[in-house]
């Protein structure tokens, strides 16, 4: 038995040399990642921040080579996890772009709304359908009113109330507890709006029901006040906050219906891809709607209680409708054009 060093069999496995050549780089990357984990990327120096993507890419290529040519499972496993960690650090820890919130609300929100205009039209239709049904039924028989309007929400505004009481409710200026009133309305309504979107996951059916019942409630109110000749004052009372609020409900409803459609009819894509697409766009719409609810709460709780003149109320309603449509129709377009 002789020891022949020249024997080709005496050569070490390729992966041993491969590892020896690159090991220092890997452990440098590893140490960097350890520090980034404990103190975030801020724990790294400017120099290291530049080096990180480079080391990451080199580790990726090591992994590619090792997967193809190395038979040391421990080495491949190590590189898999190292690259996984580095990937997370490089691709998910980037500092947020400048003005992400501004972009979110002024570009992506209007664009997302425009992208689901069909669902928005559908939710508007469902809402109006509910409104008309309730209006017609209450005009025929006032007893139907309680089928559509929750007595808790009605707070005395019912067919049994006198016209004077109803009129007073529309104009009586309130000054106490306005801001609490406004914020409670906001958080209640925004919660319902978000739920309307989320419920779209159940094939959109609960969302449609929610939008429909909201339409029923408004229809009941309209019928009651119209019967007493108070339709115009009611609209003046309702529209200033109603424009952003009902708008937000319709938007959330539309986002929920889009989600439901992606479950039922994903088209050429897989359900999973369709769901993600509708989910992410819908989330943008729902988040923008929360801002609308906030504005509506402010108008309802503060502005409208102080301003009791019909004309001023209609002016505000018109103003709200104007900026809301401008926001959705024009938002982000100028920027898109500049880019292309």
């Amino acid at each position: 038995m002789t020891d022949r060093v020249s024997d080709p069999m005496r050569v070490e496995p390729r992966s041993v040399r491969f590892r020896a050549e690159r090991e220092a780089e890997w452990s440098e990357l590893e140490q960097m990642l350890d520090r980034a984990l404990s103190s975030g990327l801020r724990g790294l120096s400017e120099d290291e921040l530049h080096r990180l993507p480079m080391l990451y890419r080199s580790a990726v290529s090591s992994l590619n080579v090792a997967r193809k040519t190395a038979l040391d499972r421990a080495l491949v496993n190590y590189l898999e996890s190292l690259v996984g960690r580095a990937y997370l650090a490089v691709y998910t820890s980037r500092r947020p772009e400048r003005g992400p919130l501004r972009r979110f609300f002024f570009e992506r929100f209007p664009a997302a709304v425009r992208s689901m205009s069909r669902e928005l039209a559908l939710s508007t239709t469902i809402f109006l359908l509910g409104l008309l049904v309730a209006y017609a039924m209450v005009r025929v028989d006032a007893e139907w009113y309680f089928a559509f309007v929750d007595p808790g929400l009605a707070s005395g505004r019912s067919p049994g109330a006198s016209t004077e009481f109803l009129r007073e409710g529309l104009y009586a200026p309130q000054h106490d507890g306005l801001s609490i009133f406004a914020t409670s309305l906001f958080s209640h309504n925004a919660g319902i709006g978000l739920l309307a979107f989320a419920l779209g996951f159940a094939a959109g059916v609960p969302t449609a029901l929610l939008v429909f019942t909201n339409g029923l409630m408004l229809g009941g109110f309209l019928a009651l006040y119209d019967e007493r000749g108070l339709l115009i004052p009611l609209l003046g009372w309702l529209l200033p906050h109603g424009v952003p609020e009902i708008g937000a409900i319709l938007l959330c409803g539309g986002a929920g219906l889009a989600l439901g459609r992606s479950v039922l009819a994903p088209g050429a894509r897989s359900v999973r891809d369709a769901l993600v697409d509708a989910g992410r766009r819908g989330a943008v719409v729902a988040a923008g709607s929360v801002v609308l609810f906030l504005i509506a709460g402010f108008v309802e709780g503060v502005f409208r209680q102080v301003v009791t003149h019909d004309l001023l109320r209609f002016a505000l309603a018109l103003f709200n409708a104007a900026w809301l449509s401008a926001w959705i129709v024009l938002g982000g377009r100028a920027l898109v054009r500049r880019r292309s």
């Binding site: 919660g191 943008v284 988040a287």
Partner: protein, 292 residues
Amino acid sequence: MSERSVRLLAPEGTEIGLTLASVPERAIAYVLDVVFSQLLLIVFLIVGFLAAAITASEHVLALIVLGMFVIRHGYFLFFETRFQGSTPGKRLLRLRVVSRDGAQLGLDAIVARNVMRDLEVMLPIVLLVAPEAAIGRAPGWLAYPAVAWLMLVALLPVLTRERTRAGDLVAGTVVVRVPKSELLRDEARGTRATRLRFTREQLAVYGEHELETLAQLLRSAEAGKADDDDLRVVATTIARRIGFEGTEPQRTPGTFLRAFYRDQRTELERNLVLGRRIADKHERKNAPGRRD
């Protein structure tokens, strides 16, 4: 439940394997986050009501209402946005949300996965405890399909391959374990000094599977979990199988096995470069053109 992994496609075109978080891990992280957010809420309420009592202002009360909304809906949103997809609870369990497509986790995805939580957690609880609060004046039988549906939604992480809850499905995200990396000793290293030598035919008996098994044996010998006797059994088996002559397998089984491992890996990796992959000894036997 066994470990499951998910493969993401990095922009470099390389598949990256990450281990998925298990359902119990996610549940514990969630419970921790609920506890943390409730503590936050309690502290906020104490401070808020103190401020309200001192200032006697209704605006402070309004701010409390607003603050409650923000904490309720913003806790997950804030941490997942600010800390790379990990809330305090997830951080304690070393978990992290990542986008399924391998891209950066966007604000839209974070909003989507968290908006769904009411549907997954709050609604089933409300329906079970007080169905009338959730379905209002709707007919009572409606509660049954509603409960069934919501239970299904709540159980999604257990049912789906990637343990995705409804929020993850809608947002296109998965929750993974932040990987740990540890480079084990290379068992083929530092065996240069042996005088053992194997022929190509002897090295051609086993495949990659046997090679990996041998590496594991050597590693556990390193860790003291296998002794010389264990090694001797394997060494003599291999020696008999490949027709190795000499006393080394009996006398110094560790040295023998190490040398054999090193040389066999050299040989198999050489084949690999040439595009020949041999999975195990059975494939060897069936391989065409092999001379016995």
